[in-house]
Amino acid sequence: MDCGTCDSASPVIMVQPDAVEVNLTMTNKAKEMLEDAFGDDRSHALLVGVLSGGCSGYMYDLQIVESTDLPCQELNIGGFRVLVPSASSHLLDGIEIDYVDRLMGGGFKINNPNAASSCGCGESFS
């Protein structure tokens, strides 16, 4: 196979959505749970990202990180540092981060006005 390692092949030009300035809200319950997780330490941040995959095409990705190599927008929500990767900002603008207290399927939930549909478990959306 000729893999085009010379100049005869150039990368496909991929149309990537522009980064948008993200507006993000968090319910009081979600803030309480973050307070429990972070304690008094504010050196870490909540990374709210999107990965490809899941039943509907995109999956939410929540992580507590000190820093990240990804180009991010940094927000301050209720005193917490929240990082949103620029590459997925168009999918996350307007979201609300909630916390659902349930024995099954509980935990942080994201209500996303951009999602046309989501899968049954609520972890992926399109």
Binding site: M1, P11, V12, G53, S124
Partner: protein
Amino acid sequence: MGLFQCNASILLISGNDLMTFLDGLSTNQISGPCTAPFTKENAKIIDVCDVIPVGDNIALVGSAEYKDDLVNHLSKRILGRGISITDISHLNDVFIGISPNTVPDGATVHDSTFGWMMICPKSISYRPTWTEEEWSEHRVMNSIPFHGHEITQDRHPYSCGLETLVHPQKGCYIGQEILTRMRTRGKTGKTMHRELNPVENATTVGHTHSLSIKRS
């Protein structure tokens, strides 16, 4: 022995965690060389590609007709992961069929669901040994679906004879909810059939038999 030259596209995918990236988008489990359908949320096919590791990269060999849709599908989901796609279709010819006695230097071979696949740099100028009619006859006699005939974008993998490419245990992928529901309820709708001629609405017509997609 015979080889048919396909109207194929070859996309070279480069970057980190490529297997994980592709595995999350396909109905089949991608952990090495395989054939992998990519489906939409409604489980309809975008393209069915042969996945061939090439060094640190992965070549996706699919239908030339669906290349743009596949690129669009993949590129929307890269999301800053540092993955790039290079179209190397114009540099290579793709052949499918039955293995010849010798393989030219520089060719890459792959065991595809559709048969024995060989990808040759155009500089080799390898000539096909099968016409489309001979390839079709081989497909009909062996119940092999193919792009543009049984495999189209208005069908899901179960309806075009690709049920072996829907992994029963792997985790989430696009279209999984629908395909899993179809399988567990035993309602896969239309399926591929091989029958004696004449066959109404045949998708591939052979000398004595034909393939068609219909309800059982």
